[in-house]
């Protein structure tokens, strides 16, 4: 059984109930900075977008990329460099990050889609590690120090991003844009073919689809969206370092998605929120975060592979079945 297969019950169409829920969620996100620390919220938004982008690949094509940190961290470097050294507008800098991540996705994806399943995971991991080594040595990344002191600047020349609240709403807008893009991709004819490939690749080939092209297309989109998250993070936190390109980061985004629910639209957001909250909470104590992340991994894999949101959806589905 492929990862994510259990959610074949297709994504709900745009119904009134989900529209209402969406509206409530957006309202909550608009009000959130008045109740929570904006920096933490922005961190959650960046990672949530990153996890959603990752989920596009694992949840809807069934490809586990163990190298998504390369796109996230790579875009952070590109954006940081453009904003700091070239003095670009923050939006243009983020777009450069997205474009850079897409190109990297094209290169890495082209090599990696030659193998499936577990090999795909190992190959993406190895290639992203290669990119991390390049980042360590390349002059523009400044090695261990990373790019520090990236200016947030003025969006489109007049919106001052140094105001925390403004920065938050811009981040939220980027997140919603990315989320909507993923929703559109998943619910398009293209997305349906991706799901067909996930379910039965050979059959998709026999139906005449050029499976490799679809996979590569999905990979590039996922990389570009991960890059959007990484570029935004570089502007929000004003730095780009090696942490973002290393394999631990790839592991973290896998955890967020797994914990929230692989192949669900909102699962990765829930997962990202929980993991970030946990990290912030533990930062004060001396309990090692890595150990806890490892424990959550083990518990998720052994006890609830559908993730939190996935389990809830499954519960609702069963209830609906027994009622009818």
């Amino acid at each position: 059984m492929a990862v994510g297969t259990q959610y074949l019950a297709e994504q709900p169409k745009l119904r009134t109930s989900s529209l209402v829920l969406g509206a409530i969620a957006i309202a909550a996100m608009l009000a959130a900075p008045f109740f929570f620390y904006p920096v933490m919220l922005m961190s959650v938004l960046c990672f949530a977008l990153f996890a959603c982008a990752f989920n596009l690949l694992i949840g809807y094509v069934g490809l586990l990329s163990f190298g998504h940190a390369a796109f996230f961290g790579g875009a952070a470097y590109f954006t940081a460099h453009a904003a700091k050294v070239w003095g670009w507008d923050p939006l243009a800098a983020i777009l450069l990050g997205v474009a850079g991540a897409a190109v990297m996705g094209l290169i890495i994806g082209f090599v990696a889609i030659r193998r499936q399943g577990i090999y795909f995971a190992m190959i993406t991991l190895a290639l992203s590690q290669m990119f991390a080594f390049i980042c360590l040595q390349a002059p523009f990344t400044h090695g261990e120090d990373g790019i520090q002191g990236v200016p947030r600047g003025y969006l489109l020349g007049f919106i001052d991003l140094n105001q925390p609240l403004t920065m938050y709403y811009v981040t939220l807008a980027i997140f919603l844009f990315g989320f909507f893009a993923i929703w559109r991709i998943v619910n398009s004819p293209f997305g349906n073919i991706l799901k067909a490939i996930r379910e039965n690749e050979k059959r998709a080939v026999s139906l005449g689809y050029r499976v490799d092209r679809y996979k590569l297309g999905a990979f590039v989109m996922s990389a570009a969206l991960a890059g959007m998250a990484g570029g935004t993070k570089a502007i929000v936190f004003q730095f780009a370092t090696l942490t973002d390109v290393q394999w631990q980061m790839s592991g973290e985004v896998i955890l967020m998605t797994l914990l929230g629910g692989i192949g669900t639209m909102v699962g990765p957001i829930v997962g990202a929120g929980l993991v970030i909250a946990l990290q912030n909470y533990l930062a004060a104590s001396d309990f090692p975060v890595t150990v806890l992340i490892g424990i959550i991994f083990v518990i998720c894999v052994l006890l609830f592979r559908r993730g939190i949101v996935g389990e809830i959806l499954e519960l609702m589905r069963r209830k609906g079945k027994s009622a009818s």
Partner: protein, 295 residues
Amino acid sequence: MSTIFGVPTPALYGQILIGLINGSFYAMLSLGLAVIFGLLRVINFAHGAQYMLGAFAAYLLLSYLGIGYWLALILAPLIVGAIAVVIEKTMLSRLYGVDPLYGLLLTFGLALILEGAFRYWFGAAGKPYAPPEQLTGAINLGFMFMPIYRGWVVIASLVVCIGTWLLIEKTRLGAYLRAATENATLVQAFGVNVPLLLTLTYGLGAALAALAGVLAAPIYQVSPLMGSNLIIIVFAVVVVGGMGSILGAIVTGYMLGVLEGLTKVFYPEASSIVIFVIMAIVLLVRPAGLFGREE
């Protein structure tokens, strides 16, 4: 001083030796990964952590119980193998029916727990571990001086690799193992205890990693993160060699180690990425790997 392609020969031989040593570890680790994957269909991400555990077992045996290198060479693999058996029995065995990716994620989580815990207890800094007295010093090979311990590592790893290969290819146990790799249900129907075989295989793979860890302890320092960076390179080695063949894993390990050493001589900037570049090229030319077969 004699030179080859403008490189002084002692430097060249030195790097080839370092390459051979790295290659020894690549070979031993990718061998264990291939054995585990062959039967369990699990990529053991904890392999690097088990290698680290082996090195730490040797270090702790010495510092707390005064047990030296030679005994550690036997005890550490047994200890780590026993831990692996418990892991297989309690956790991995629950995942045999589901997508193999979950096995990867589980062992990834275990690796994080082990590394995080050891870093918490012992700090990130490396701990020195002295080679045994019998293996200190260096010998003159005529064209270069070789530290005896390094020569020992290369020979020991060759013996371990060939021994494992013989165990799998030439013994009855190995025959069961290969048969179960082909068709586990059928082998079970013939009355072979396949679940036990799976447990033993995982234990054996982990013990191999631990043995490599003990051998590595005097060369690289004993540190909690010594396995995690190595394991990614070993993954690349495994992709290059192809998972299907035990011999392929061994040969590819040594080959890539030496190639990495040579890169250090001729183009040092690329030495940390050369194995990944080769992996990419092999994937483009021969996606199943050098010794693999299409599945």
